[in-house]
Point group: C2
Chain length 277, copies 2
């Protein structure tokens, strides 16, 4: 593991590392914010999953989360959104919604994707093991959050692993990838045409069979261009109602899909997670 | 004037506009944040001047200032750092420290620069007139701040126009462009080889002849790579001592020249300006 960047930030450290990933079969880059409290002992850790086209850097430079992380004494880990590098296949047409920058936090089963695109295992297993080994964080106090495709990632990962995370939140998540163009394209390519396999990565489906419930907060702007066609929070809300799942979904008037929306509300999310960490 | 972007942000609006500039002889882009209070009436306004290579967008997306602007009810205007577009000459060698993205907030007197590079008049005269005409701001309650080259801009403009601004602050400013490589290159090109003309754009020189004093706050990271060769706060501090100018210069341990430094302390600067606005 190689440190490639460091900045003092809100009294803590914003760090960036490169490491070989055995799961993804390529080198990966991630960012981690260590709050001032990490100089005195171990701190809880929030994993942040970004959306389409992002790397680990978008959230780090644009969300302003470090201020709140420093207040609450929480580390934040931001992985990249897909495998990268020579030999990693991309969307043949170079579109932004599949391939590089669009790993969708699944384990691909189909060639040529399955050789690298295993972001689910990377985020759930390999990265936390690396973080717990090298940084002063408490691996028993983990939370997860994300935006758009990353909100889908955070929700599905938390729903599939409720024992690993204390709480989950999302900004404008893709709530049912089985029922939107972004998700249908990605899941068909990564998992194949059998839609039954897709439900294992669909929050709205997973919620119906959840054995254990986690605190869950979702913020969604009502001026978000992707709301009706791609995000569909009403499907998750319906599933929560049927399953009796304690989902807190807040529609935020006037907000769009950008990082200005995330920056405006990330403080609420850090406060939400801090209650459980 | 044409609106080219809008986002809801911390309950207010982050806006972006394009307009023809008569002073700069080209089209210019600027950003303005209007806090929620601007929906009820006029608000004070802070001008932010960015550093080398920046446009109006760096501060807007990376500093996280909107949160504090919303708390205090202050608008923030962020202009570009130089004229732009077809026909605007650039550094012949394409270096980052002169020409496009490097207007240094002066009125150039030398060909070929003098036809466009008049950022001093743009920031002091043309832009505030436009802002005061089109937005709910109080043109009698203005403050100014900036980073690096923009810190130099903020300090020189405030020192030359103490009646226009209530307060001035800067992050890691170039404190004496007459005595550093960035400044010597820019001033020699924009103003010619007669160094006597340079002192009119040198904070440390201007401070010695200041007739009227403004509240002035400067933060400087002690891990800033440019500190010794380019920024030289000790020259401004010496001038302040000689002139009895109430400069508050804070050395911040561990901080570098990046926006992580600005984000960490911009809240303090908004609070500082709010006292006087």
């Amino acid at each position: 593991m190689e440190q490639i960047d460091v900045h003092r930030c809100f009294g803590g450290q914003q760090l960036r590392f490169r490491h070989p990933s055995a799961v993804l079969n390529c080198d990966m880059t991630f960012s981690i914010y260590l709050p001032p409290q990490a100089e005195q002992g171990v701190v809880p850790v929030l994993y942040w999953l970004s959306g389409l086209t992002c790397t680990d850097e978008n959230f780090v430079t644009k969300a302003g989360a470090q201020r709140y992380a420093a207040e609450h004494g929480i580390a934040i880990v931001a992985p990249d959104t897909s495998p990268r590098g020579e030999g990693v296949p991309d969307d043949p047409e170079g579109n932004y919604d599949f391939g590089l920058g669009a790993g969708f936090y699944v384990n691909a089963t189909q060639a040529p994707w399955s050789n690298h695109y295993r972001m689910y295992d990377y985020v759930v297993e390999e990265l936390p093991a690396l973080i717990n080994e090298h940084f002063p964080v408490d691996g028993d106090k983990m939370a997860i959050s994300g935006h758009s495709m990353g909100g889908h990632g955070a929700l599905t990962i938390a729903l599939k692993n409720p024992g690993r995370y204390r709480s989950v939140s999302a900004f404008a998540p893709i709530c049912s990838p089985m029922h939107c163009p972004w998700g249908e394209k990605a899941l068909a390519n990564y998992l194949g045409s059998n839609r039954e396999t897709w439900s294992d990565y669909d929050s709205s489906e997973l919620m119906r069979s959840a054995q254990r419930q986690l605190p869950m907060l979702i913020d969604q702007g009502d001026a978000d261009n992707f709301l009706q066609e791609q995000l569909k929070p009403e499907l998750l809300q319906q599933a929560a109602k049927e399953a009796g799942y304690p989902l807190q979904l807040r529609m935020q008037p006037g907000y769009d899909h950008s990082y200005f929306f995330i920056a405006s509300l990330i403080g609420d999310h850090l406060r939400f997670h801090a209650q459980y960490l």
